[in-house]
Assembly symmetry: C2
Homo-oligomer: 209 residues x 2
C-alpha cells in the first residue's frame, strides 16, 4: 500500500499504523477520513490525544491513571478504603468498575511478576502496596490478577507479605463463566469448578419452601 505520492499523507499513515492492531490499510482509511473531516473535529481529536500525555496523572494512592493527584475512586468518601482490589492495569479497574459490584478501592501493580520478561517485584508497585497496608487499617485484599502462572506467582508474593497483617486475603472466584458452554471450557477450569462446586441456593437464592 504505497502512498508515496504525498509525503504528508504517507507520514500520517506511518504514524497511525504504529498504533497496536492498526495496519497500513486501516491507517490509510483513517487518514483519508480525517482529510474529509472538519478541521475543528480533527483539532478536538489531536487535543484529546495530547491531553493524555500532558494532563493525565497517576493517582498517588492506587497508581491508576487519574485527572488529579488522587483519582475519583480514592477520593470518593463513599468507597470503602479498607478493601483493596489488586489489579494488573487500568483496564482491569475499568472492567471491574463496569460490573458495579465493587465498592472498595484499587491498587494498580502495573503488571505481574514475570522473570521470563525481566519483570521482578521491584518493577511493580508492590512496595507501595505494602506501605499502604502498613499506613492504613485494611480489612481485606482482593487479588484480581490474571489466572496465569505469573498471576499466581504474584498472588503468592503478596500473600506471603500480607498474611500476618490483613484479616482477609481473597481471590476472584474461579469457575464456569456466566453464559459459557461447558464444551468450550478448558479441562482445568471445569475440573476445579466441580471440586469447588457451590450450593444451588447460593447461586439462585432459596426459590422453593
Amino acid at each position: 500500500m504505497l502512498t508515496n505520492y504525498s509525503k504528508i499523507l504517507e507520514n500520517a499513515v506511518n504514524e497511525i499504523a504504529k498504533l497496536p492492531g492498526i495496519g497500513r490499510r486501516t491507517a490509510l482509511r483513517l487518514a483519508l477520513h480525517l482529510v474529509n473531516t472538519e478541521t475543528a473535529e480533527v483539532k478536538m481529536l489531536t487535543h484529546a490525544l495530547t491531553e493524555l500525555k500532558s494532563s493525565l496523572k497517576i493517582c498517588r494512592h492506587c497508581f491508576a491513571i487519574s485527572d488529579g493527584e488522587v483519582c475519583d475512586i480514592c477520593s470518593n468518601l463513599k468507597r470503602n478504603a479498607g478493601v483493596i482490589c489488586v489489579v494488573q492495569d487500568i483496564r482491569d479497574v475499568i472492567a471491574i468498575e463496569n460490573t458495579n459490584q465493587f465498592q472498595g478501592v484499587y491498587h494498580v501493580l502495573g503488571g505481574v511478576i514475570s522473570p521470563i520478561d525481566g519483570i521482578g517485584p521491584g518493577q511493580l508497585k508492590l512496595q507501595e502496596l505494602f506501605q499502604r497496608i502498613e499506613a492504613q487499617n485494611i480489612e481485606e485484599i482482593i487479588l484480581a490478577l490474571p489466572s496465569t502462572a505469573e498471576g499466581d506467582t504474584t498472588n503468592f508474593y503478596i500473600y506471603k507479605h500480607c498474611v500476618e497483617k490483613i484479616p482477609k486475603i481473597s481471590l476472584l472466584a474461579r469457575g464456569v463463566g456466566i453464559g459459557e458452554e461447558l464444551e468450550y471450557i478448558n479441562e482445568v477450569t471445569l475440573g476445579r469448578s466441580l471440586l469447588t462446586r457451590i450450593s444451588f441456593e447460593s447461586q439462585y437464592g432459596k426459590i422453593f419452601d
Copy 2:
C-alpha cells in the same frame, strides 16, 4: 465500557471512537497505549494528523489530495497527460498507482452520481473534467469507477458528454467483480484490468447514434 472516572481518558476515548470502524473498546485500548507511549511519539502522531488538515491541498488539475498546488502525478513530465483515468476518490488513485500499470494522469470526481444519496452531477468534479477535455488534447479517457449502478450511471453521463470529443473512451476490463470497490481488489487483478481495458461500446453497447 465506562471510563467516566477520568474525564481526560473518557474524552480521548470518545474522540477516537468517532473514527470509522473503531468501537469504544478499541478506542480505550488505543488511548491506554498512548498513555504509555513517549510524549515525543504522541506529538509526532498528533502533528501528522494536524498536517492532514493544515498542509494537504487539492491538486488543481486532478482534484487528488496533494502536498502542493499541483500533485506529483500531474507535475510529472513522464506521465502521459493525454490519458485521463477518472476515479471516484483518492483511494482509487493509490490503488491504481500500486499496480504500476498506468502512466497517464487522473481525475478524481469525489464520488459517483447517486440520486438516492442526493449526489447529482453538480456535486462532482464533472464540469472540471469536461473543461480539462476542452482545454487539452486528450487521446483517451479511462473510466475506472466502481462497478455499481451508480458507477454505471456516471460512466454513461461522462460518455455522453465526451464521446464526440475524445478518440477513445475505455473501461477497466471485467475482472473487477460486480459490486466490488476498487480499493479492496488485489493488485494483480486491478493491474490486469487496466492492461485489458475494453471500449465503452463493448460493455454497454452502442447506445447513442
